[in-house]
């Protein structure tokens, strides 16, 4: 069996939600055993992002002021948005938008490694799905940084993995939200 076939996400951890008026923010923290410089490259370089992120970029996200096209991976209809990098202080702080979402990444040196924090928008009903999806992306990122890439697991791919439903359910329990209507059930009155 390959490492990808053997991959199973661990228990839910490292996610918080903040509510500010009508705006919900998902905050995800992951400690990585790799330097901020190395993590920064994985967060900004197109070839690295392709190995783990839920979107692809047509150029580096690492330069402030540049316009970059983001293509959402696995969306059921083409979803391409243009972003402008509003902050790129290597290797500490990175800010840009993904569609209507604000993405803010902070990298803090921690021993020889990095504490990585992501702030991103989330709608209430999708909190568990978003937390579970990023959880898996970060696992894949960790494999990539360790020189053992297992290939991107995002969007519909993630839902096929053993452990997806459990992870989604754990985050749903943590945040007290309902599981999203996926896989689709029969139509229901909203």
């Amino acid at each position: 069996m390959t490492d990808r076939q053997q991959y199973k996400p661990g228990p839910a951890s490292g996610a918080q939600v903040r509510k500010d008026g009508e705006k919900w923010t998902l905050i995800l923290v992951r400690e990585l055993r790799h330097s901020p410089e190395k993590v920064w490259q994985a967060l900004t370089d197109p070839a690295h992002l392709r190995e783990w992120a839920p979107f692809e970029v047509d150029r580096s996200l690492g330069t402030v002021g540049t316009t970059v096209k983001l293509t959402t991976v696995g969306a059921p209809a083409p979803h391409v948005t243009e972003t402008r990098v509003t902050r790129a202080d290597a290797p500490e702080l990175l800010e840009y938008t993904w569609g209507d979402f604000d993405m803010r990444w902070m990298l803090e040196a921690l021993g020889g490694g990095t504490r990585l924090t992501l702030w991103t928008n989330i709608a209430r009903r999708f909190i568990s799905m978003g937390a579970a999806g990023w959880h898996i992306c970060f696992d894949v990122l960790d494999h990539l940084l360790s020189g053992n890439p297992i290939g991107r697991i995002a969007g519909p791919e993630a839902m096929k993995f053993p452990g997806w439903q459990r992870l989604n359910a754990e985050y749903a329990k943590q945040f007290g939200n309902d599981m999203p209507n996926w896989p689709p059930q029969a139509a229901q009155k909203s």
């Binding site: 839920p54 979107f55 959402t72 991976v73 696995g74 969306a75 059921p76 209809a77 979803h79 948005t81 993904w98 569609g99 209507d100 979402f101 991103t120 928008n121 709608a123 009903r125 999708f126 799905m129 978003g130 999806g133 995002a154 969007g155 999203p180 209507n181 996926w182 689709p184 029969a186 139509a187 229901q188 009155k189 909203s190």
Partner: protein, 132 residues
């Protein structure tokens, strides 16, 4: 091949979901998201496994331009069939929707047109039944 989904652009998916379910009476079918992308569909409560209508965000310039242009020309963005256009007109109007055209006989059908509050005109159509 089957026609199972069609879409309308909307300016706000949450507002659209409320209008299409609470005012028009459709049922939510699928709602999931990946990052900023949200796939949201409704289906007829009378035909839950029938054709779905995707409520697609108009958050790109092409979608906005198309939506505005056909709205300004009075073109419906979608058309729904009913067996009782007058009954639906009364029911939907009572829930606060604004009709731009009350039930009106045209060749082959009776039609009505309403605003969906999300940037579109929606046509209701009842096909005429001809006696033999």
């Amino acid at each position: 091949m089957k026609i199972k989904v069609t879409s309308v652009y909307v300016d706000d998916q949450d507002k659209a979901l409320r209008f299409y379910t609470e005012v028009l009476g459709f049922a939510k079918k699928t709602d999931f998201s990946q990052g900023p992308y949200r796939w949201l569909t409704v289906a007829s409560a009378e035909e839950p496994d029938g054709t779905e209508l995707q409520l697609a965000p108009n958050n790109n310039p092409a979608a906005k331009a198309y939506q505005q242009a056909i709205f300004q020309q009075g073109q419906p963005a979608a058309m729904f069939f009913t067996d009782d256009v007058k009954g639906d007109y009364e029911r939907i109007k009572a829930r606060g929707a604004e009709f731009t055209l009350p039930p009106t006989d045209v060749t082959g059908s009776t039609i009505a047109m309403l605003r969906d509050t999300c940037g579109n005109l929606i046509q209701l159509t009842q096909l005429a039944r001809y006696s033999r």
